[in-house]
């Protein structure tokens, strides 16, 4: 099809080479700044003062009882009281969430921020195999590299699923006595069953990320076309398992922070953030690689435009899902559902944060990315990608943090910044290890010629 001169891959600088050392050094510096910053600033801010989980449990119960005077919390009891009158008389109101800040809250925000990006990369690889996509072959290796960071994410999640941090994060670990709502969910919200589920999710993700990457790299050497068709054949299974695992992981990690609340669309909401944030990350990686003389012609303006289109599309998809959730709850106006949003409007800062989601996570990137010129220029697409990533972090923050003090204070601390910096450093190191040692491009992919010649009509 293409009449332009096709890029000769052999003339491209297509290995990470000396950049991997630079990346690892950058990652190490960020990790050290993040960890030292977290320890120092965290100590100043009293992040490590709360006792062990047992004491935490006591004080949370106290806080929950104190929280009775918060009007937003009262609404919730209306729904509970009918079923657990007797219990309520003896034990006071019950809560589905912990109100006390712990260092694990910002840790969860940051871990979910990087987990969603990594999973977005896995989805990218799977879905482009399913559709036998031509244009994306030049950037698929980068996605495969990012998806391999899932191993790092598993390590990052290990401390989080220890009993102490879990008790600090999730009320259902130590529910209030007489909490009917959590007790009927207890067969699902069970610590051991949670651990098994997490193990299964990460097993699925790691197996798919590694096998796709391995087969793709092996194809660089032997050029076996059968590998591509084999991967395409199993990718429907991969996407089905991905859909289930990310939905339930979203429920387990983020939605169960308030175990009384539920949203059937929550998994899709997390998925939208996954794909959006990964495309933003991919744009940044490409811009950075090209600024350092890698793949300067193989990845063209047209490929950048398509990455930008995907960011644009998933900006809209995110807004569509977020608004669908909001509007149905607003319309039905059932207290046990609206409480989640009421809590996010109780102080002006959270109200502002909600508007920042509407304007900053939707309107700004929508209007910014709508133009093809913006999507084709490296500087502008990089700016858009950084904006989208910042908003995605703010989105994760919005999902986790408002439960602190039942939303009556804005719990921002410096460790909220330091932990993502540290984790970002580890993520960059993981990325460097994952991308080095082989080509940055799936050299002998049967769709490579089509991809190199790709042009937006």
């Amino acid at each position: 099809m293409g009449h332009g001169s096709t890029v000769d891959l052999s003339t491209e600088n297509r290995t990470l080479g000396s950049l991997s050392g630079k990346l690892i050094a950058l990652g190490a510096v960020m990790a050290v700044i993040g960890i030292v910053g977290t320890v120092v600033l965290g100590s100043l801010e009293g992040a490590f003062e709360s006792g062990d989980s047992g004491q935490g449990h006591q004080s949370q119960q106290q806080a929950a009882t104190d929280g009775h005077r918060v009007p937003a919390a009262d609404d919730e009891h209306g729904a509970t009281d009918g079923e657990s009158d007797a219990a309520a008389v003896h034990h006071g109101p019950t809560h589905g969430f912990n109100t006390e800040w712990s260092i694990w809250h910002p840790y969860l925000v940051s871990a979910c921020f990087f987990l969603t990006m990594t999973l977005g990369a896995l989805f990218f690889v799977l879905v482009h195999h399913i559709t036998n996509a031509g244009w994306s072959a030049v950037v698929r290796r980068l996605a495969e590299g990012v998806s391999r960071n899932i191993v790092l994410m598993a390590l990052i999640f290990c401390p989080l699923v220890m009993p102490g941090p879990m008790g600090a994060l999730y009320k259902w670990i130590h529910p209030d006595p007489g909490d009917e709502i959590i007790s009927v969910k207890s067969s699902y919200l069970d610590y051991n069953w949670f651990l098994i589920r997490m193990g299964v999710y990460f097993f699925i993700w790691i197996v798919f990320a590694w096998s796709y990457h391995r087969s793709s790299v092996a194809q660089d050497r032997d050029g076996d076309v059968q590998r591509s068709s084999r991967l395409s054949r199993i990718s429907p299974l991969g996407v089905a398992l991905f859909a289930l695992s990310i939905t339930f992981a979203g429920y387990d990690l983020l939605m169960s922070l308030d175990a009384h609340w539920f949203s059937t669309i929550f998994g899709v909401y997390i998925f939208a953030g996954c794909v959006l944030s990964f495309h933003a990350l991919l744009a940044l990686i490409v811009v950075w690689l090209q600024a350092n003389g890698r793949l300067t012609r193989a990845i063209s303006d047209d490929h950048m435009q398509d990455i930008g289109k995907m960011m644009f599309a998933f900006t809209i998809f995110w807004a569509y899902i977020a608004f669908s959730q909001y509007m149905l709850y607003w319309y039905a106006n059932i207290p046990e559902e609206t409480i989640w949003f009421v809590r996010r409007q109780s102080v002006w800062m959270w109200g502002f944060w909600g508007w920042m989601m509407v304007v900053g996570h939707f309107f700004v990137p929508f209007l910014f990315l709508v133009s093809r010129h913006i999507k084709r220029k490296r500087a502008t697409i990089a700016f858009g990608a950084m904006w989208v990533l910042a908003m995605h972090w703010a989105d994760m923050y919005y999902l986790v943090m408002p439960q602190i003090s039942n939303g009556t204070e804005f719990p921002f601390k410096m460790v909220d910044i330091m932990i993502p910096i540290g984790m970002g450093g580890l993520f960059i190191i993981g990325l460097a290890l994952s991308l080095r040692g082989h080509s940055l491009i799936a050299e002998k992919d049967p769709r490579m010629a089509e991809s190199l010649a790709f042009e937006n009509a």
């Binding site: 009449h3 332009g4 608004f323 607003w330 042009e455 009509a457």
Partner: protein, 196 residues
């Protein structure tokens, strides 16, 4: 109806027999390959022609650049259509539900943004689509029942296996002799002048 003359320089002239005092209105140049067309288009572009076009049986990538086509106004028309649909959707619902016929439904406010978003969203899509379809027709000067191109039998192959450049007679640089020489130099396999 038509008469065809072959002049000495290899340029065919197609004239309507009914035409009184026929004037050239169009020049057609035929090319056998897309690559040949691309090169010729770049040549015509570099001569500074304004009212001319290329005709191909399928979309040829890179032809826009070879022709020096300026960015189209269409996205801005679509953007305006979208804004009109969005604000129109909100205003329509506000007027209908809160002013013209206020009707209390399950205790909701007469007008509220969340309830109005789905309709405003659909109106945005609808008017963007109208604007892009209508704007495309308008900018292309469509619908047009007749074009002088249709007089050429050779031009019928533009939908099958031939590539054409047409230069409009209203172009400032339109001149039968010099233009036909240019097109032949650029590799045209045949050049026709259409008069009416």
């Amino acid at each position: 109806m038509e008469s065809q003359m072959n002049s000495s320089n290899g340029v065919e002239t197609i004239t309507a027999e009914t035409a009184i005092d026929p004037k050239p209105v169009l020049m057609l140049a035929e090319f056998a390959t897309a690559d040949g067309l691309m090169e010729a288009a770049a040549g015509v572009r570099d001569k500074g022609f304004k009212l001319w076009d290329c005709h191909t049986p399928y979309p040829v990538h890179g032809l826009d650049a070879a022709m020096g086509v300026k960015p189209t106004l269409l996205p801005w028309i679509v953007l305006c259509g979208g804004f009109f649909g969005f604000s129109g959707g909100l205003l329509m619902q506000g007027w209908m539900n809160a002013i013209d016929y206020p009707f209390l439904i399950s205790g909701k406010p007469f007008f509220s943004i969340p309830a109005s978003i789905p309709v405003a969203f659909e109106m945005t899509i609808l008017f963007s689509a109208f604007a892009s379809f209508g704007g495309m027709l308008l900018l292309n000067g469509l619908p047009r029942l007749y074009r002088p191109h249709f007089r050429s039998d050779r031009f019928r192959r533009a939908t099958a296996d031939r590539f054409f450049i047409s230069i409009d007679g209203r172009d400032r640089q339109f001149d039968v002799d010099s233009n036909s020489r240019l097109l032949q130099e650029l590799g045209a396999s045949a050049v026709e002048v259409i008069e009416e």
